[in-house]
Amino acid sequence: MKIKELLKLAFKQLMERRARTILTILAIAVGVTSIVALSAQVEGVSSEIFKSLEKLGPNTIIVTVRSGSLFTDVDVSNVKNLSGVANVAPVFATTARATGINDRITILGASTTAMQTILGSINLIKGETYNDVPSPQAIIGYNIAIDDAGTYRYDIGQPILIRIGSRNIMMITVGILDFYGTSTVINPDNTIFIPIDYIRLLLRTSGYTSMIVKTNSIDDVDNVMNLIRYMFGGRVSITSIKQITSTVQAITAQINLLLVSIAGTSFVAAGLGTFNIMTISVLERIREIGILKAIGMKDRGVLILYLSQGLILGILGSCIGVILGSVIAHVIPILLSSGMMRVEITGQNVLSTYTPAVTPTYILMSIMIAVLVAIVSSAYPAWKAAKMNPVDALRYE
């Protein structure tokens, strides 16, 4: 019998028990939906992280004081003179509270050049960048300027009261940053940028907490890191974007594996369901199998007839799963950003700032698993059907 005819017959058998078939298809679809929807979240978040890392550039090294005295201008100059270093942007970072904001925010004293290095490009929705002079000017992050309802807490020209430790400082808003989203080094949306010289003046310090170092090329990164480590010893922590990228890659791969494994367990249930349905189907059709054999269908034909039912269930289940998974993948961030779920880092709901990425790899993988599970689950009932003695099958009541 031609495969096309066998598939038609298999489809008709499945359609004869429509409700049962639909339930089996849905059971298979659950696994595919989970994999597609969950992997899209992890892929989406990691893609956002990689984008922010890309903005910084893979040739960036972040050096932060861990203990002891802050970096001096001499330290900055020494690093700048190291072989392979293209540029050094010293910054001063601290945490503070601002009026009208519940969570702690970051204050980053940085020159406009340093800002550019950190942000990639300075995208303002209002106002302009400050002049690099020691004056109380502030460029404020999106989440500080605009509340959840979308109205401005602070506008251009308005004063903003910041409390650093026990000191209250009044700054004038000169610029409002656009929404930057997920970021790894700092969170621009929850940060107030002020001129580096002004914060040093205010806090009566001549030092810097961190240096953003750019090397000439990616190949220089490891060498420059070693030189900096040699120069400052254990009092600084040195991180390269290259390192962060590979760490994030490793972490997201692990998270994905975990999520896919969890989602994969639903395939066990789907497999058992399919096995159950196919076994019942074969039992119900013993007489019919006898008829098919009596009119000349070979054992192989019967085997393919029931295996192809598993195949049809698997394909339909995975198609529905991919569609549902893609829809749910895009619904999850909406639920997360609506505040139904929050994962806060430095006061920001990081889950609200990514676009889920439904990737062909996971679609293909989940389809393959679903189809394989359905076929494997059908194999034993199909084999039993194929091996049935036609006379016994015809006599079956």
Binding site: G296, K298, L394
Partner: protein
């Protein structure tokens, strides 16, 4: 010329430790182009005989030559081909596939044989027309009367141009009027197409449509009679 020859055929069914001999050392030949009735009381081995000739089961001992083939030598796949190409089965309970319509049921043996759909459809329609079922092609078996269902089963049995029709109590589940119609069809197939039909029946009245009656009792052939002798 014989179409089927059985030589010392025995069939023993084993259930647990109990052995039940259904046929005992049966040797018989069935001539080609005849309508043969196999009669006997329940448990005499009539259906077993039919199943063995049809290649649905294998004998415990003995040799069966049918349509020029030694069934003993055939593999499971070759037996399936033999059933598909050489044999047409007609059962007491019709044994139609419930989710297929009349046309699809009749086309099924051709689809199994690999005949293309268009050719199969044309041939099935022809046979259904001859059997007076052309207006029932889209109906499902449960929408037909018993007589109609049996005619569909006959159409299915004929569609691959078999050499031999094996009918197991074909009128056992239909009324006497339809039984006569079915017998008329069988008679015509033998007389006009030269087909061979072996029919198992309890009904002595139906034997008058046949050319020959084989009587079985306790798995042994009691006698073989030409109908004119009856």
């Amino acid at each position: 010329m014989d179409i089927v020859r059985l030589e010392n055929v025995s069939k023993v069914y084993v259930t647990g430790k109990v052995k039940y001999p259904a046929l005992r050392n049966v040797s018989i030949s069935f001539p080609k182009g005849r309508f043969i009735a196999v009669m006997g009381p329940s448990g005499s081995g009539k259906s077993t005989l039919l199943n063995l000739i049809g290649g649905l089961d294998r004998p415990t001992e003995g040799k069966i030559i049918s349509c020029g083939r030694n069934l003993e030598e055939l593999t499971s796949d070759e037996l399936a081909e033999y059933r598909n190409e050489k044999i047409g089965f007609v059962f007491q309970f019709f044994n139609l596939i419930g989710y297929l319509n009349v046309l699809e049921n009749v086309m099924l043996p051709m689809a199994i044989r690999g005949v293309n759909e268009r050719e199969g459809r044309e041939k099935a329609m022809n046979i259904l027309r001859i059997l007076g079922l052309e207006d029932k092609v889209k109906k499902k078996p449960n929408e037909l009367s018993g007589g109609e269902r049996q005619r569909v089963a006959i159409a299915r049995a004929l569609v691959n141009d078999p050499e031999l029709i094996l009918a197991d109590e074909p009128t056992g589940n239909i009324d006497s009027v339809n039984a006569k119609i079915i017998m008329g069809i069988f008679r015509k197939l033998v007389d006009e197409k030269g087909m061979t039909i072996i029919m198992v029946t309890h009904n002595i009245e139906l034997s008058r449509f046949c050319d020959m009656v084989v009587r079985l009792r306790d798995g042994v052939i009691e006698n073989v009679e030409e109908v004119s002798e009856l």
